[in-house]
């Protein structure tokens, strides 16, 4: 059984984003980029399923040519081959989902595992959109994934607790933080990943119109909080809280 794992190259989660002075976006020049943390979890989950019936893991990234590094990282973790789809324009989740739907048509995976959201745009859409386009079931916000005889059972992190749903295959899974702890790629595996196959495509190859539907008019920094005060002890803290009208 084949698993497809889309991965995204994003600003490293430890880097504090800087908004450009001209308000056009966030400054991504000369900052550390990494694989979106939720996508690492998706790659890891696909690898863990290898003992349980998964025979091939194909990793896809859509974006600039440098996204190739992100695919190599996934290959070094244990994925088998990669597909890089480059695009001159920024591709929105709807466009990404449409390209992925075409790749699914070609590759015929039984399962697509995506991260639940990318930490740059914070959209949380692509997996659900892809499921909608394909007419597949969607196990979103997964904290546990189990392959069964006739499908996949997914425990999902929902408001208030956990919900378990079952889906026939093929299906979509999107990963939440607690699904697993991604492995680090070892140096020998990083070297080996360099010779794993990586197909180069462009968005145009798939005949998908990726013209953005949303225009970003401006990007600004959020309002800054006023610097606060430090209190010396609990008594002073209690006084402050009382002054604010709490627990009189």
């Amino acid at each position: 059984m084949k698993v497809l794992v889309p991965v995204k190259r994003v600003l490293d989660y430890n880097v504090k984003p800087r908004v450009k002075a001209d308000g056009t976006g966030v400054d991504l020049a000369n900052v550390k980029m990494s694989m979106n943390p939720f996508d690492e979890i998706a790659v890891e989950e696909a690898i863990r399923l290898k003992d349980k019936g998964v025979t091939e893991i194909v990793v896809v990234s859509i974006g600039e040519p440098k996204a190739q590094e992100t695919i190599r990282t996934a290959l070094a973790m244990g994925a088998d081959r990669g597909i890089l789809v480059t695009s001159d324009t920024k591709v929105e989740p709807l466009g990404v989902a449409k390209i992925l739907a075409k790749i699914v048509e070609e590759e015929q995976p039984s399962l697509v595992i995506l991260g639940k959201q990318a930490i740059d745009d914070d959209n949380n859409q692509t997996g659900q959109m892809l499921a909608g386009l394909l007419g597949w079931g969607q196990g979103t916000f997964a904290s546990k994934v189990e392959l069964t005889a006739d499908g996949v059972t997914v425990t999902r992190e929902v408001d208030g607790g956990l919900e378990t749903d079952a889906f026939p295959l093929p299906a979509i899974v999107t990963t939440d933080l607690r699904l697993n702890e991604p492995r680090y790629a070892s140096l020998p595996n990083i070297m080996k990943a360099k010779s794993k196959p990586l197909a180069q495509k462009t968005a145009a190859d798939y005949g998908v119109d990726v013209t953005p539907r949303l225009t970003t008019l401006k990007v600004v920094e959020p309002g800054k909080r006023q610097a606060g005060v430090k209190v010396a002890d609990v008594d002073e803290l209690v006084m402050k809280l009382h002054a604010m009208g709490i627990a009189k």
């Binding site: 709807l94 378990t164 607690r178 970003t216």
Partner: protein
């Protein structure tokens, strides 16, 4: 513009997140509601009383009992023939359903909006709330999710919506509900609590979390939250998590105990009116956003605080 709002409910009552979505939708025009579920008469009656609501579409069918996206999305799409926008609260259900609807309508969703600037222009947070983007959509139909803490809640009385039954679209067979483990929690719900006491990794164990954080919260009538570190370490269940990937809260007072203040945690609480931080590391980033900070050992400070309040 006719807007269809997804009513988030538990089968008995309308959840607060819906009320914020109604306020956001009312800025776009006429507000209609969709109540989908099984045995939802009571919810529909309550929904019809929400101020400013026109029609309340009710889809009562076993296929909608657990709000599975595979079954609900076709229902919404059918109703969208007669609506210009679909608005859902940014709850896990809203986030699960809305993008599937958007893809079926071939439109780009606008996630987690903070404000409605005009009929086609909205603001939304990106990069864990470290930047606010103003976006304009060119899609004829709009699919939007709404950040609950960014809009006032619509009044739950005063409305006189008309209730109208909607035909079920049936079960797609693409998903099946197995079971749910909903954490029992007698305290105020996190996303609507006025005060939140939140604990982090520094508590060192679940026992300490229960022994220190919960009495303080109970004394204040507060909701209890946690950082990702505390959840990952198993001190409390995942639905306690406040942050970029957990719940977004904006209470009047947020008391962060033993939480360093990573970007991802701040993303979930930095719009709180007052932030109080208790941490033994005086350089912890949480102090940069805290209105009131106390540098000290939480194992000494928190019991003393609970006692003196």
């Amino acid at each position: 513009m006719k807007t269809l709002v997804w009513v988030e409910h538990d089968g008995k009552s309308v959840k607060d997140a819906t009320l914020a979505a109604v306020t956001a939708a009312s800025k776009l025009g006429e507000v209609h509601l969709l109540v989908a579920g099984q045995g939802v008469d009571g919810v529909a009656q309550a929904a019809a009383k929400i101020a400013g609501v026109g029609k309340v579409h009710v889809a009562d069918d076993a296929a909608y009992a657990h709000a599975l996206a595979e079954n609900v999305a076709p229902l919404v799409v059918a109703l969208m023939a007669d609506h210009d926008a679909f608005v859902a609260p940014s709850t896990t259900t809203g986030k699960n359903v809305a993008p599937r609807v958007a893809a079926l309508l071939d439109v780009m969703q606008i996630s987690d909006i903070l404000s409605v600037e005009s009929e086609d222009t909205f603001t939304r947070p990106i990069y864990a709330g470290n930047a606010i983007a103003t976006v304009r959509t060119s899609d004829a139909k709009k699919v939007i999710t709404v950040r609950g803490t960014a809009f006032d809640k619509a009044a739950t009385e005063g409305g006189s919506g008309t209730i109208e039954a909607v035909a079920s679209q049936g079960d797609t067979g693409k998903s099946r509900f197995v079971d749910a483990e909903i954490a029992a929690n007698a305290r105020p719900e996190l996303t609507s609590a006025k005060i939140i006491v939140s604990g982090g990794r520094a508590l060192q164990s679940g026992e300490n979390f229960h022994a220190l954080i919960e009495p303080l919260a109970d004394k204040l009538g507060a909701g209890v939250g946690a950082s990702r570190a505390a959840v990952d370490a198993g001190y409390v269940p995942n639905d306690y998590q406040v942050g970029q990937t957990g719940k977004i809260v904006a209470p009047e007072v947020y008391i962060a105990v033993g939480i360093s203040g990573a970007i991802q945690h701040l993303a979930g609480m930095k719009d709180s009116k007052v932030i109080v931080a208790i941490n033994k590391d005086e350089d912890a980033p949480i102090f940069q956003v805290a209105d009131v900070g106390l540098v000290g050992d939480l194992f000494k400070v928190v019991p003393e605080l609970t006692e003196k309040l």
